[in-house]
Symmetry: C2
Subunit: 115 residues, 2 copies
C-alpha cells in the first residue's frame, strides 16, 4: 500500500459524519445499506452524504453496488485490513516480545474459520 492511499483513508475517517457512516456499515456487515438509509440514520442531507460516501469509497474503505433504484454501500473489509496492516507494518522491529499490548486483541471479528 502506498502512503498516499493510507493518507486518503485516514483523512476519510477523520470526519464526524464519515466516521459514523463507516462504523454503521462495519456493524451492518457485508450486506450493507442503501445510501438513503444511511442518510436517514446519520441525519444529513442526501447531497452531503453522497459526497462523504464517494470519498470513503475512493479511499478503499467502502464498496457499492446498485440494486434497482438504490445504491448499497458496505465496508470493504479487505481494504480496511490493508490499511491497518500498513499502519502497523514491522511493528517493534519484528520483535513482539518488546510490546506489552496486543494491538489485534479487540479486533476479533471478521475472522475466517480456521482451515
Amino acid at each position: 500500500m502506498e502512503p498516499k492511499a493510507a493518507i486518503d483513508a485516514f483523512a476519510a475517517l477523520a470526519q464526524e459524519t464519515r466516521l459514523s457512516v463507516f462504523r454503521l456499515l462495519v456493524q451492518a456487515g457485508p450486506g450493507g445499506l442503501p445510501a438513503g438509509d444511511v442518510a436517514a440514520r446519520v441525519g444529513v442531507p442526501a447531497s452531503t452524504l453522497s459526497h462523504h460516501l464517494g470519498l470513503l469509497e475512493r479511499a478503499g474503505l467502502l464498496r457499492s453496488w446498485r440494486v434497482q433504484r438504490q445504491i448499497f454501500y458496505a465496508t470493504d473489509y479487505e481494504g480496511t485490513r490493508r490499511l491497518l496492516a500498513f499502519l502497523m507494518k514491522d511493528c517493534c522491529q519484528g520483535l513482539p516480545e518488546l510490546c506489552g499490548t496486543n494491538i489485534a486483541d479487540p479486533i476479533d471479528c471478521c475472522v475466517e474459520t480456521m482451515a
Copy 2:
C-alpha cells in the same frame, strides 16, 4: 472512546509527515527515538516536526519523556489499540461468520505471550 477522540487520531494520521513519523516509531518499538532523530529521519525542520509530534501525542498515538536534553517519543500502543477497537467495534453484528476477511490477521505484532 469518544468519537471526537477517534477523529483527532485519524486526522493526526492523515498527513504525510505525521504518518511517516508514526510508522517510524511503530517500527522503532517502545524505546522510541529523540525528537531530533525523528526530524533528521523524516527530513523536516524542527519547528514543523515539533508541531506534528505534539499533535500525535495529544491524539493519544504517541507518548513522550525527557532524557537529559532530549525528548523521546514512542508509539502509545494502548492508545493505538483503543483506536482500532473503536473503529471495528461490533463488526458484522457480532457474527464473525458473515465476513470473509480476518481484519486482525496482519497485525500480529505486539502480542503478549499467552498466559
